[in-house]
C-alpha cells in the first residue's frame, strides 16, 4: 500500500472517529466542536495535566507492548491486567517490607514486580504449552483472580486504616523511583517505558530469537518445518508480556501512587489492546498509538469533569477508529503472496 493511500485511510478513519465523538457530545448537551477541540487541547493546557498525560502514556505504552509481544507470536495475552496487578503487589510488598540499602531499593521493587508479573503469566503460558488450553480464556480468568488478590492484600495486614478505599500503607521513601522533574513530580516512568520499547524492538528485529518469534506468529507451519520450536516461542512471548505488564504495575506503585490501591488497573487493559492493535504490534508505531490514546483518555476524562460528557467517550473514539481502519484493509485474497508479513488476518 502506498503512502498516499495510507494517508487517506488514516485521515478518513480519524475523521469518522471524531464524527462519532461529536454526535455523542451533542447528545449529552454540549457543543460538539468545542468539545472535540478541548479533548485534544486540554491534555497540554497546564503542567499538572501534562504530567498526568505522560504518566498515563508510560503505563499504556508498556501495557500495549506487553500485549504486542504475544500478538507478534499470534497469541492473545489478554491477561495483562492481572499481570499488571501482580507486578503492583510485588512492588508494594517489597517496598513496604524489605529493608535493603536505599540505593538498591528502586531496582529491587521493579524486579519484584517484573518477576511476579512474569510468574502470573507463566501459569496460562504453561497451560497452553502443556495442555493446549486456550490462552484468551485462561489469561482473562486469571485477571479476575488477581482483582480479589489485590483486594485481599489491600484489606489485609498492610491496610492503610486511615483511608476509606482499600489500599496499603505507603512504600518506603527510598523505594520511590527517582524523579526527572520535581514540580509537578514526574518519576523516570516514561524513560523506562521508552527504553523497554527500544529493547523489545531490537529483540524482535535484530536477534534470531526475535525473528523466530515473529516467524512463529506469521506462519506456524513453515516455522515448524524449518525447525523453530513454535510452542516454546508462543509460551515465551506470553511470559515476556507478563514481565512487561508486571513492570508497568511496579512502576505505577513506585513512581506514582506509592502504594497498592484496589482498582488501580483502571481501564488500561482495554486501551492497551486498542493501542497494540492500532500499531499492529510494531514497537515504533506503539509509541504514536499510545500517545494518541493517552491524549484522548486524559482529554475525555477532563471533559467529563468540565461539561459532564461521559468519559467512556474516549473508548468509543479509539474503538471506532480501529474498527474503521480494520474495515479499510484490503482482503487477503487480493495479495496472494506466499509469505504473510502481517499476521493480523
Amino acid at each position: 500500500m502506498g503512502l498516499g493511500e495510507s494517508l487517506i485511510k488514516y485521515s478518513v478513519s480519524l475523521l469518522l472517529a471524531f464524527l462519532a465523538a461529536m454526535i455523542i457530545i451533542s447528545l449529552s448537551g454540549s457543543d460538539p466542536l468545542s468539545g472535540v477541540a478541548s479533548i485534544i487541547t486540554i491534555p497540554f493546557s497546564n503542567p499538572d495535566i501534562l504530567s498526568l498525560l505522560i504518566q498515563k502514556f508510560s503505563t499504556i505504552l508498556l501495557m500495549s507492548l506487553a500485549f504486542s509481544i504475544s500478538l507478534k507470536a499470534y497469541r492473545f495475552n489478554v491477561g495483562i491486567e492481572g499481570q499488571f496487578l501482580l507486578g503492583a503487589i510485588g512492588a508494594a510488598v517489597t517496598g513496604i517490607l524489605v529493608n535493603a540499602p536505599p540505593i538498591l531499593m528502586p531496582t529491587l521493587v521493579l524486579i519484584a514486580g517484573l518477576s511476579l508479573g512474569a510468574l502470573w503469566a507463566s501459569i496460562p503460558a504453561y497451560l497452553l504449552y502443556k495442555f493446549g488450553v486456550n490462552e484468551i480464556v485462561s489469561t482473562l480468568l486469571m485477571n479476575f483472580i488477581s482483582f480479589y488478590l489485590v483486594d485481599l492484600i489491600a484489606t489485609g495486614g498492610l491496610r492503610d486504616t486511615a483511608a476509606g478505599h482499600p489500599m496499603t500503607i505507603p512504600i518506603r521513601i527510598e523505594a520511590a523511583l527517582p524523579t526527572i522533574v520535581t514540580s509537578p513530580r514526574m518519576s523516570i516512568m516514561p524513560v523506562i517505558a521508552v527504553i523497554m520499547v527500544l529493547g523489545i524492538g531490537l529483540f524482535l528485529y535484530r536477534t534470531v530469537a526475535g525473528y523466530e518469534l515473529r516467524a512463529s506468529g506469521s506462519n506456524k507451519k513453515a516455522s515448524y518445518i524449518y525447525g523453530i520450536n513454535v510452542k516454546f516461542r508462543e509460551t515465551f512471548s506470553i511470559i515476556l508480556g507478563g514481565a512487561l505488564a508486571g513492570l508497568a504495575g511496579a512502576m505505577e506503585v513506585s513512581g506514582l501512587h506509592m502504594r497498592l490501591i484496589s482498582g488501580m488497573q483502571s481501564n488500561y487493559i482495554l486501551v492497551a489492546i486498542l493501542a497494540a492493535l492500532l500499531a499492529r504490534g510494531e514497537p515504533v508505531w506503539l509509541v504514536i498509538a499510545s500517545m494518541g490514546i493517552s491524549v484522548v483518555e486524559v482529554g475525555s476524562a477532563a471533559l467529563q469533569r468540565t461539561s459532564g460528557v461521559p468519559s467512556e467517550l474516549g473508548l468509543v473514539i479509539e474503538g471506532v477508529l480501529l474498527l474503521v481502519i480494520l474495515t479499510f484493509e484490503i482482503p487477503k485474497f487480493l495479495r496472494r503472496s506466499f509469505v504473510k508479513e502481517v499476521s493480523l488476518r
Partner: protein, 309 residues
C-alpha cells in the same frame, strides 16, 4: 425445604451461563469464535436497564430492547469477519472494548452519575399454580417466564443444530467450509444466521442479569460471566446439552460459596470469590486432552484463497 431452595438458587444463576454459552456454541458451530461475549452482555444489560427506566419501569420492553441488540452486533461481527475477513479474535477484541465503552456511555447519558442508582422492577416467579406439587415441583414450576423461554430456546436449538438435516449443513460450515461450499451450502449466509442467533442469545443473557438478578445496572454486573461461559462452551465440547453440565457445575460451586459466606466462615470472602475462576481454569485443563472443537473454529472462510483455510 432446604434442598428446594438450593435447587431454586442453582437454577436461577445457571440461566445466564446457559444462554451465553449456547450463544457461543451456536456461533462456534458455524466456525466463528465470538470473544465479544463479556462486552455484549454488558451492553445488553445497559440497554435493557435504560430502556426499561425510560419507559417507566417496564421490564419486559427492556428485555426485548436489550436482546434485540444482538441483531445489530451479530450483523456487525459478521460483516467484519465474513465480508471484510478481519481476523476473528482481532475484530472480537476490538468490538469487546467498543461495547464496554458504549454500555457505560448509554447508562451515563440516560441516568447520569448518581449516588444511589435507580432501580427497575425485577421479573418475579410465576404464581399460576394453586396446588402444591410435592418436592421439586414448586421449584421447577414457579420460575419467572424468562426461565422457561431460555430452556425452550436451548432445547430447540440443540435439536435444530445437532439432529436435523439443516443442522448437518450448518455444522459442516464450522467443520469444513470449503466442502460445505462445494456441496452448495451458502457459507456466508449460514455464518450470518449463526452470528445473529448467537448474539441474540448472549444479549438475552445480559438482559436476564438486569431483569431478574439485580434490577439495577453497574459496571461490574457481568463480572466474568461471559468468559466463564466461553469456558463452559469449551467444556461441553461445543455441544449445547453437554455444556449444560458445565453450567450446573459452575452454578453449584457459586451456590456453595454463597452458603459458606452466609454461614460466616473464617475464610476471607476474596478467596471464596476466586474459586469459580480457579475451578473454570482447572476444568479447562482437565478437559483439554479430550476436548473436541469445530475444526475451522476461529478461521474465516475465503473462497478464492489457495490455502487450505
Amino acid at each position: 425445604m432446604i434442598i428446594e431452595d438450593l435447587v431454586a438458587y442453582i437454577l436461577q444463576i445457571m440461566i445466564p451461563y446457559i444462554l451465553a454459552s449456547t450463544g457461543i456454541i451456536v456461533a462456534g458451530r458455524a466456525g466463528v469464535f465470538d470473544v465479544t461475549v463479556e462486552g455484549l452482555m454488558l451492553l445488553s444489560a445497559s440497554v435493557t436497564f435504560t430502556t426499561s427506566y425510560l419507559l417507566g419501569g417496564n421490564t419486559w420492553l427492556g428485555v426485548i430492547a436489550g436482546s434485540s441488540i444482538g441483531l445489530a452486533t451479530g450483523s456487525l461481527l459478521w460483516y467484519l469477519t465474513s465480508v471484510r475477513r478481519i481476523n476473528q479474535f482481532i475484530a472480537g477484541l476490538t468490538l469487546l472494548v467498543v461495547y464496554i465503552g458504549i454500555a457505560g456511555l448509554i447508562y451515563k447519558l440516560v441516568i447520569g452519575i448518581t449516588l444511589s442508582p435507580p432501580r427497575i422492577p425485577v421479573l418475579t416467579g410465576l404464581d399460576w399454580l394453586s396446588i402444591n406439587v410435592p418436592f421439586l415441583g414448586s421449584v421447577l414450576l414457579k420460575q419467572n417466564p424468562l426461565f422457561y423461554i431460555a430452556i425452550a430456546l436451548i432445547i430447540t436449538l440443540h435439536m435444530l443444530i445437532f439432529s436435523s438435516g439443516w443442522g448437518i449443513s450448518y455444522r459442516a460450515v464450522g467443520e469444513n467450509p470449503r466442502a460445505a461450499d462445494t456441496s452448495g451450502v451458502d457459507v456466508m449466509r449460514v455464518r450470518l444466521q449463526a452470528l445473529i442467533m448467537g448474539n441474540l442469545l448472549i444479549a438475552l443473557s445480559g438482559a436476564y442479569l438486569v431483569s431478574t438478578f439485580t434490577g439495577t445496572y453497574t459496571d461490574t454486573i457481568v463480572s466474568g460471566r461471559g468468559w466463564i461461559s466461553i469456558g463452559i462452551a469449551i467444556f461441553g465440547g461445543w455441544r449445547i446439552l453437554e455444556s449444560l453440565l458445565g453450567a450446573v457445575i459452575i452454578s453449584s460451586i457459586e451456590t456453595s460459596i454463597f452458603i459458606l459466606q452466609a454461614s460466616g466462615t473464617w475464610i476471607p470472602y476474596q478467596i471464596l470469590q476466586m474459586i469459580p475462576f480457579i475451578s473454570m481454569i482447572s476444568i479447562l485443563v482437565w478437559i483439554s486432552k479430550k476436548a473436541v472443537l469445530p475444526r475451522s473454529l476461529g478461521r474465516n472462510y475465503d473462497r478464492e484463497s489457495y490455502e487450505e483455510f
